[in-house]
Symmetry: D2
């Protein structure tokens, strides 16, 4: 169902230069299609076009922005199977997961369509002291201008949607560099955008070689850089970003706490943790990496989790029965395999899994991993989960907070005061009580603290970042 | 410390006509002071003055409204002991409780001072469809105009404050009829208001005979009627209120649920319930009247509650050691005594208390009161609390909901899902988890559903009711 | 295109009893269809079913409410021509106007679909004083319960939509009594609602004889009464409404001010005023009834307006060329004809129009109408507009404010300080600068003050009325 | 009235090391006092103490934060004259202006006290799609942690207050480096803070040599850097700020447009422009630097402005009659004198002023300054104003937008559509209609775009920056 080749989109229009990127099936490793590759000149052209589109985008009426987004929703629904297939092939994502991502793509654009007509302001009382008698204030949110987006391979549609859809709602032109490992999904998205009457220059989607990426980061005509990807790259970008606002959605080593009162819910918890840990081969920023279990429940949950992990069906993601696909490539799988081995050398026990075939790493459950091992302290970004018992709840909170990251944390408890304490004490962007940290609905504020990033996505929150307050003061005659 | 006589205030100024109201010490029954009594002509004058003050009050700048309220805060602090003494004498309120009410009076005015400069509006996006292209909207909140306030005897200062302070913040002139049993506190409050530069006519505080009260309710020049008092009177007023907005803060027979998991907190719970039930002789809309206790904890809590009730020290409220004062008058105490007797005849057991000396009813704990007895189904408004065991949590929720009232409910539990279920299912204005229903902080939204009233007080919420949205649409050239 | 007969809908299901209402073509007077008529028993059944549906509607998830509303949007789009035709016939509305109303019906349901997932609450800081240390507050908005809706003939679809769509979004079951002169549109709407999976009892649409209407108003199981209609009836309902919340959208005699600086925009203004005055034969609550024109522009605007009025094409609304249809019935047209004659007897001059053929009254422009004549002071609700010159802007504001009504006012000016002054001084629900008072977009807050009503509609605002705040207080352990 | 020497404050406590900074009277140049100087070790200690204070500050209850801020308000009122005198001497600010700044210091702390109990969150509906059934969301704002503040010399009290007061309200400890030219005011402020019960480490105020400033910018234990100062320094700091959030309040060359319709308001406008341009010797970020006047009014306004400039009384700021004080030092005055000379060489005409005596530059009005001269294109930051005629309004808007800066713009017009156009089109943080761009009230959102900075101050807005959203998701059982 994939095309033989995909153009890139520069200033709303497809372009097919000679240079191309070969895109592989992440399971078989075979090249399945090609995507046009933008050079430095194309990047410059795209930025210049985005700058020219600033005014037209700002003046595009809210209902017109809504219509553009609603068109996308309709078309994504029509092309849902094609999109899911593209994801499946280029990202190695089991079909069922791929379909789930398409559903969320639609949710994200739908939410943005609804928000597009809800960007409003405030009428301020300025008469707070005698010297301001007769003044009144008004605010509106105006688009910040051209935005720069750099997106990762793990959700090639929905993490792109979380930047693109709010940008359209907010009235910002943008240039997008998708992951060069999974560019196809973005290209189909661009194809759909090109069907709309967005002003010329409103969008460019440009697969770009690393050496040509500089302007996405450094060009000061771009007013906001929104990056989703690795921690290391993210913080480097911030330092190079010049005057831009910077939004960073980076990684994590998300923890999940299972409290003592959950004895009768262990099957449910095992299901959720297994899903949170192994869903799309653990390649999610909020994949469950560490599970802290109250010592009284530890053995029982361990047993169930191991069983769940073993029940997963690894294989070709195109196969409807597959529940565990490959990691993005073999080097990634090797890197994680190496971390597992290092941990084992320092005393960790592999309870199940650990094996690797090409990019396909088995669903792996470990215990006894030292906290300072990469497997625990770094972002694993693969189908691995570590178990660890705890005795006192406060100790569990402390362990969660020790990490370098702070994206989301899960907490299985029905204890009201512990839930509130976790909300108050955990240094993360979000605490999920009653589920794994991997929970995300596309309208909620989402983002990390500490090493995990800066700013919040989630449609309305992204729009806030992509607009700025402009005050009007009226002096009453 | 009380004056020999108090004038009423008409259009900001004291007036001392011949007719007077004798005010008694609620403990001794002796007449301790007199307050001037407004006749029909005075009421008419006050309303006409309030109408004339509508424009000036609306134009009073927010910072000027704030200054008025801050002046009150300062003066209440200076006169705190005098205010507490007045409450103690005219309402029979133990000194400690009276001081507590003065503290809350100050909190309420302070909150209103802060809100006075925060009455703001919104800038609306109207371009939701093509036909609205070029239009934008703005809202501001403008004062509704002259307001009518009728207040009860049980919190002669703070329930007055909950109407008066928001009115000043909102820019509404008002006429206030305080309870004829406790008019002194309002008069001191009026005295302080008269020190400010509120526009003439901005306030009138008029003790009025029942036969002259009509215009407070029916006069259509008054735009809002805010009444705190009995259920029966409240709903009658609504039918007579003409075109006015109506806010009703009526009574309740507040219930408190003690769940199975609270075994180690019974001492704390007994303290809180005893406070919630017997504080100012139970004469509070959110006094604890019914306690539903899980059957496993029933005996243990009963024992503790009975002990608490017995430990209260009934007597002269002027005595610093007194913790239980008289009810507002002997007929009120007799009415409740009668209800107790009726209940006993139908099988209820008095665990402690039940005796009466004049207006002083003993702190009374009962069990086995049939649900359809007035003592359970009506507002007791006295120092009485009924205990009742339950087996299943849902049963407890159902019992709370059965009543005719719906003000607040308390729930002692640490079970997260039960707390959420109670919030979702209980038909009340507020659910208090971890404390008795009697909890109120003066900035929170407060008010009932079903028989308990209409609308919400709490400074910001009252201001909302006292203002109305005025839209501005601008068609862009 | 109309069916031969229409059932009513009781508890989501069609029912075809013997009693029927004959519906006439408002132009020809011929009976064109019949609609089933509910008797007292049916009304009681519907209310009881609504009460039973309270819980299920409250628990219907937001996304499920959204789906119901989106289904309606889709179906209204599909059946748009049929709906427009029904309006045209039963309300005598020119086809173009009828199509416009269908567009707005869709807008209203679309806005409600978007709001259905945006009914949210607040996390409150309660720690405003030492005594509240450790407490926190949360609010949610819960549906008020079964609602009662009574709607008029002039917008048989969109004024119904403004009650029905927010009710579904808010989670309130409802019983609706449409105007007995235009019940068909509501029946088609009910037909579409019946296709959804709304819980049984969620809606009943019941044409009802006057003598059976009582429970819609008085039954206290219904928690809110929302009425759109005449002033006289509206305020009577309020007095009979018992404990219900009451929203009244009543009439007006809307004024429009044309300021001195508008000399070069008179053609545009004449277009807009003509539209505002004669659109659907002036039968709109915000029809332009009075035009105050600066004396320097008076003659020039009068001339243009008269020309516009004469250019209207009166006739059969089914005819695509018709721009002026009949009033709702001959008695209505006669009533207004009589007002015109009374005014003429007191010195008013008819500049054009004044004639009547059956229910069809000519587009009529007058000047010199005394302010106390019904034609000026009452709601004309027909194709009549009065001109009046003014000299000073403040005088014009005063005239606008003198009336008994206060719905919306129009103001043609480009003077910033006058626009602000009008916003501050005009006692109306909305001031429209740069257009006629007849402007309304379906999401904006809409409603009157003084005689024009109580409360605001506009999807989000109606939802606010149909829900109430429920507080949760948590005492921190 | 100044002390002989001032300690610095490290972790809430005064410390008097050997190293000291000599502070001069900016008019006489004489050393008037000494302030202790922090070395690298002290900076490290302060940061470590701030980190330790993170938890205690977060847990400090809102009412307790309010009490701290209210204490400051009280003390600033008591010490107002002393503070004004310090400003007068160390900043060379005329006494009247100095008193004005103290008033605003108080306003800022008062606003922060009020906001301290209003930092709240939202209850989110997450059930936007079937997959989120049963989830609900809650947000709270938690303090970001230790903050770093660097402040300039021109408002040594109020620009410090705009960082310090919101930090206390938000619950953030901070380290502050005041300008080394005006450290005394901050030291008095620190003295007052030291009287409160802020947790140890909550604040450090450290005059620091340039070579020791690094950690204020680069230390990643500090979570936010808020800098007010020059454009050049600001953007450099951003690149060095590591993972911190960065707020930059930089300079501008604020423009003011006087439109054609303002002929009868020229005296008022001349007063305001003169104030906006020469107030505290033009050393304000929003000082009026460029005035664009409609050509028809140009001559008349020029004449009035020149007269105003000449009427200013330059001299010793301690003298009550002085209205124009010195610039901060002689090099600054020389720099600006040089710019004037450069401009004159390229054809500019000095209409009045231009002379310099030490740091005292005369109030200078010029015309004909080329747009690319530093005097026009850079931030003058001195008592200089440039006049320029324009013909078409759109041309004026274009000129305002051409600059590199975008802080605030002023617009004298009474034309509604032009005001709206300016609000929509001007690329600035705030548009002031009816007054000069120099208008600021301390609660309004304030800050620039383009070269003028990043983020908004104004108490509530600064608090937003100093807190971050923390989500709680509850999965309903």
């Amino acid at each position: 169902m994939l095309a033989e080749r995909y153009p890139y989109y520069l200033a709303n229009r497809p372009r097919q230069p000679n240079a191309e990127l070969a895109v592989t099936d992440k399971y078989s490793g075979e090249v399945v299609t090609h995507v046009a590759l933008a050079d430095a000149g194309a990047v410059e052209e795209a930025i210049a076009a985005a700058v020219r589109a600033t005014g037209p985008m700002r003046r595009l009426a809210p209902y017109a922005r809504q219509e553009v987004l609603e068109h996308c929703v309709r078309r994504f629904r029509e092309r849902a199977e094609e999109l899911a297939f593209a994801l499946c092939v280029e990202a190695g994502k089991p079909l069922r997961d791929a379909r789930g991502e398409v559903t969320r793509l639609i949710d994200t654009f739908k939410a943005a369509a609804e928000e597009a007509v809800r960007i409003e302001g405030e009428v301020l009382n300025l008469e707070v002291s005698r010297r301001a008698a007769g003044y009144r204030g008004f605010t509106q949110r105006v688009p910040v201008g051209p935005c720069s987006f750099i997106t990762p391979f793990n959700f090639p549609l929905n993490l792109v949607a979380h930047k693109v859809a709010p940008a359209i709602a907010a009235g910002c032109p943008f240039v997008l560099k998708p992951s060069d490992r999974t560019p196809v999904s973005s290209m189909i998205l661009a194809e759909v955008l090109a069907e709309t009457n967005l002003p010329e220059g409103a969008f460019s989607v440009l697969p770009t070689r690393l050496e040509d990426v500089g302007p996405f980061i450094e060009d000061d005509r771009l007013k906001l850089l929104s990056f989703t990807g690795s921690e290391k790259v993210g913080w480097e970008l911030k330092a190079r970003a010049g005057r831009k606002k910077v939004v960073l959605e980076l990684g994590g080593n998300a923890a999940c706490v299972v409290d003592r009162d959950q004895g009768d819910r262990l099957d449910f918890i095992a299901d959720r943790v297994s899903h949170g840990a192994f869903f799309q081969a653990g390649q999610s920023c909020i994949s469950v990496q560490r599970v802290l279990v109250h010592e009284e429940l530890y053995d029982a949950l361990r047993e169930r989790l191991v069983a769940r992990a073993r029940a997963l069906r690894a294989g070709n993601p195109r196969d409807e029965a597959t529940t565990l696909g490959p990691m993005i490539d073999e080097p990634a799988a090797r890197r994680l395999e190496g971390w597992i081995q290092r941990a084992v050398e320092r005393g960790a026990r592999v309870l199940t899994g650990g094996g690797r075939r090409g990019a396909l790493l088995e669903a792996t459950v470990l215990e006894g991993v030292p906290a300072d091992e990469p497997l625990s302290a770094e972002e694993a970004f693969g189908p691995v989960v570590l178990l660890q018992p705890f005795r006192a709840f406060d100790e569990a909170l402390r362990v969660v907070n020790e990490g370098r990251y702070g994206l989301q944390a899960g907490l299985f408890t029905n204890d009201l005061s512990k839930a509130m304490r976790a909300w108050d004490e955990l240094e993360v962007g979000g605490v999920v009580v009653g589920d794994v940290p991997s929970f995300r609905v596309d309208t909620m504020p989402y983002g990390g603290v500490k090493g995990s990033g800066l700013g919040r996505e989630g449609v309305k929150y992204a729009i806030e970042d992509m607009t700025e307050l402009r005050l009007l003061v009226l002096r009453q005659e």
